[in-house]
């Protein structure tokens, strides 16, 4: 269908309008003089530390153990108390070796191992390893990864020697990596062959020398295979670890009054937060008596619960960075079984890898601030006066050390008073 010319012109006008109508710029004037005085917002911050702000509901622990950790801990007299040993077994040793020669692939079930290295990657930021030496032992008796403890090899047998029965010493190396983050524990070919034997009970990693606590992961046993049919051929091979765990003594201490969070036992503290329903209309400290304003009427720009760390005895304090989280608590009356709700989080500040509502406790920190801004605003607008929260480490068992805090939190609020630009 052909448009008649007037209709075509009108359609062209409409099309041009649609295209150009999207290009509006708003005239904007800058400067103090131009700005309407009534439109200026007022932002303040206050620090609330009343004793009644937080009330402890309970402290709970023993939710997780070494089997839940993605790392191993080796310690020797750390903090004057803590000893920890790592146990590992290699179960995927090859049954044959495959190689190519002259374009032909050969498989040989007869082969020998070359010398190798057990590769331990040390998390230096979460370790205190100066002067500490790692020792690698053959385990002297069978053990069960799921049930072993410092005293027990399995659920029905004790270690002949607490901390794991040692056979012979296989290797040792400084726990401080000379380069990068890897510590190499050298093994000769016979030791490698023994470790690869399915009947080998496993390896025990201990520490000696200066007291230390080392957090590490094992990257495998790097070795090589030589086929019996071609002894001049060497094929690189890394034996990957099978079952592994660590055992330690004593158990993490329980605090007398401090709040606990995180650690290998995933300690958590439940507390009740009383939310003020009104807040100063002119910040803190108020220069003059200026009255108060309802919290639900202000914009909470940020709010943080401030926790003050206290020392943890017995070498169980946090090393490196600990991620702390606050979660809402459903049915706090259930105590240690109280189900946890969602993170007390501000979705607008969720980063690529870090949830904003978590706080981080780094060595030397005197205060840990956990932001709860949007949560606080939503709770205030829901007319709630108190909520129960759980302070815990996340992910569970992500760090070995437990964090302790003074048994009260302070609340810092940065807020902006409502402002309205009136009609002329």
């Amino acid at each position: 269908m052909r448009l008649r010319r007037p209709h075509f012109l009108f359609a062209a006008l409409c099309a041009a309008t649609v295209v150009t109508a999207c290009s509006d710029d708003i005239p904007t004037a800058s400067g103090e003089d131009a700005f309407p005085p009534q439109g200026r917002a007022s932002t303040f911050d206050v620090l609330l530390s009343a004793d009644s702000l937080t009330v402890e509901v309970g402290r709970f622990s023993d939710y997780t153990g070494p089997g839940d950790a993605a790392y191993l801990i080796v310690a020797d007299d750390f903090g004057g108390v803590l000893d920890a040993h790592a146990l590992v077994r290699f179960t995927d040793a090859p049954q044959s070796v495959q190689f190519s020669s002259g374009g032909t692939t050969f498989i040989d079930t007869a082969f020998v191992y070359a010398p190798g290295n057990l590769i331990a990657r040390v998390d230096t930021s979460a370790s205190a390893a100066a002067g500490t030496v790692l020792q690698l032992w053959a385990v002297g008796q069978e053990w069960s990864p799921a049930n072993t403890t410092w005293e027990r090899a399995t659920d029905s047998t004790l270690w002949q020697e607490p901390g794991g029965t040692r056979a012979e010493l296989l290797s040792e190396a400084s726990a401080t990596p000379s380069a990068g983050d890897s510590v190499l524990l050298p093994l000769d070919s016979a030791q490698v062959a023994r470790i690869a034997d399915p009947d080998f009970p496993g390896l025990l990693l201990t520490a000696r020398g200066a007291p230390g606590r080392v957090r590490l992961t094992l990257a495998g046993l790097a070795t090589a295979l030589r086929p019996a049919s071609r002894t001049d051929t060497t094929i690189a091979q890394t034996l990957m670890q099978g079952p592994r765990t660590f055992i330690f003594t004593p158990e993490p201490p329980r605090s007398v009054g401090a709040w606990e969070a995180g650690g290998i036992r995933s300690a958590r503290t439940l507390f009740r937060l009383r939310i003020p329903d009104r807040i100063s209309a002119c910040g803190d400290p108020p220069p003059t008596s200026c009255g108060t304003v309802a919290l639900e009427d202000v914009t909470v720009n940020s709010a943080s619960l401030l926790f003050t760390p206290v020392p943890v005895p017995g070498g169980f304090g946090p090393l490196g960075t600990t991620t702390l989280a606050l979660r809402s608590v459903f049915e706090p009356g259930l105590g240690r079984a109280a189900p946890l709700g969602p993170l007390v989080t501000d979705q607008r500040f969720v980063g690529a890898a870090t949830v904003f509502a978590q706080g981080r406790l780094a060595p030397g920190d005197t205060v840990v601030a956990i932001p709860i801004g949007q949560y606080l605003q939503s709770v205030a607008r829901a007319d709630s006066t108190a909520v129960t929260l759980a302070l815990l480490g996340e992910p569970e068992a992500a760090s070995f050390g437990v964090a302790w805090f003074q048994p009260a939190a302070r609340l810092r609020i940065v807020y902006t008073l409502p402002s309205r630009t009136p009609l002329p």
Binding site: S23, D24, A29, S30, G39, A41, T43, S302, G373
Partner: protein, 397 residues
């Protein structure tokens, strides 16, 4: 009838598509805003002469125009504009586009006519911003405040007209004022201490909205004392413009007196091809001076416009008139500031344009270009602008 229905549908559609009032000037932040005239491109090219023109003229000035219409008509005017503004020594450019006028008109039985129009009245699109620094929670932050006002007032005119003779017509109607004003206030925080780990602060945002409504009346006459000469006068006024807050119990309502507006103008054919047009207008905005006392006050708006149209005789069914003009307007609102009020601003413009009529006058396109200046240093705002107007008229023959 079908044409009229289509016309009304088009009017509603275009009204929704784009505001009759888009951002035009920093002076939109003075008083009740920047007054706008609902003119078609022909009137714009003639310096703003919106009444007393020979032939058809659809500007929302004189309700008597529809009595002389040969057929139902739809007119839409599209107006892009680019403005350079010097405010407190800082220059900024902005551009916009809008529909200052959409009109549907038709002759009725006998000597009657009717029109429905939607056009500009007050522009209130502007923003202010400022920066400061604050220490909060032990950190220093750069604070940026922005107050952005958007909206304005548009006039919806319903009018009827009557041709009392070959040379005299009258018209009258009602003006429904409508629109809104939305004020968004935002405060952003940016940490200034790049070495520290500053606590992120959520921005503060507030929104207040008012709806405008008001009712006025309008009337006008058009008289052709002899061939080639047309004189016209029109007026509007009455009532108040009420601003009612929407969903905000803390915002205040307000009411402003609508001005009495008087227009007079005419055109005279000087030669067979040339016509001169002149117009003057006065709007009694000083009625609102008391209402606006805290924001600079108000004075009466007045303006003069003039232009020449050259429409050479052409063979066939097409014609291509050329136009030039100029105008001067004393604007009614000025910037108020804590340090004292600025001078009332004025707007000057020179204009030019052309038209083209097709299909025995069944359709026409009119174009206008304007080069204008508003305010000066004494007014606190010094602006220059380029503005184009494009009107397309379709007759339902």
């Amino acid at each position: 009838m079908r044409f009229a229905v289509r016309g009304v549908c088009l009017l509603v559609t275009l009204s929704a598509l784009n505001s009759p009032l888009a951002a035009q000037s920093l002076l939109a932040g003075s008083g009740l805003g920047l007054p706008g005239e609902a003119l078609d491109a022909r009137a714009a090219a003639l310096g703003g002469v919106g009444l007393g023109l020979a032939g058809t003229s659809f500007s929302l000035v004189n309700p008597a125009f529809s009595a002389r219409l040969p057929a139902p008509a739809i007119v839409a005017t599209f107006q892009p504009e680019r403005t350079r503004s010097d405010f407190a020594g800082s220059e900024s450019d902005f551009s916009t586009s809008r529909f200052p006028l959409i009109t549907v008109a038709a002759p009725l039985a006998g000597r009657w006519g009717a029109s429905i129009g939607y056009g500009a009245f007050l522009d209130q699109n502007f923003a202010f911003q400022r920066s400061d620094s604050l220490e909060l929670a032990g950190e220093r932050f750069l604070v940026r405040d922005t107050v952005r006002t958007s909206g304005g007032v548009a006039r919806f005119r319903l009018a009827g007209s009557y041709a009392a003779g070959e040379r005299f017509s009258v018209g009258a109607g009602i003006d429904l004022f409508t629109g809104s004003r939305v004020v968004n206030s935002v405060r952003f925080f940016t940490p200034l201490d790049s070495l520290g780990v500053a606590t992120p602060l959520l921005p503060d945002a507030g929104r207040t909205e008012w709806e405008y409504d008001g009712v006025g009346v309008n009337a006008g006459v058009e008289w052709s004392p002899r061939n080639g000469v047309i004189l016209a006068a029109a007026g509007s006024g009455g009532g108040t413009l009420d601003a009612t807050p929407v969903g905000d119990t803390l915002a205040q309502a307000a009411s402003y007196s609508l001005p009495l507006a008087l227009h007079a103008g005419g055109s005279a054919r000087l030669t067979s091809a040339a016509t001169v047009a002149l117009a003057g207008r006065w709007k009694g905005w000083s009625r609102a001076d008391e209402d606006l006392r805290d924001s600079g006050g108000a004075r009466d708006e007045w303006g003069v416009s003039g232009g020449v149209e050259y429409d050479p005789p052409s063979s066939g069914t097409r014609s291509f008139p050329l136009r030039v003009g100029a105008r001067y307007t004393a604007l009614p609102f000025r910037r108020g500031a804590a340090s004292g009020d600025f001078d009332f601003p004025a707007e000057r413009a020179i204009t030019a344009g052309a038209g083209a009529r097709f299909a025995r006058g069944a359709a026409s396109i009119d174009l206008a270009g304007e080069r204008g200046w508003r305010g000066d240093a004494g007014a606190g705002v010094d602006e220059s602008f380029w503005r184009a107007s494009l009107s397309l008229t379709l007759f339902g023959r």
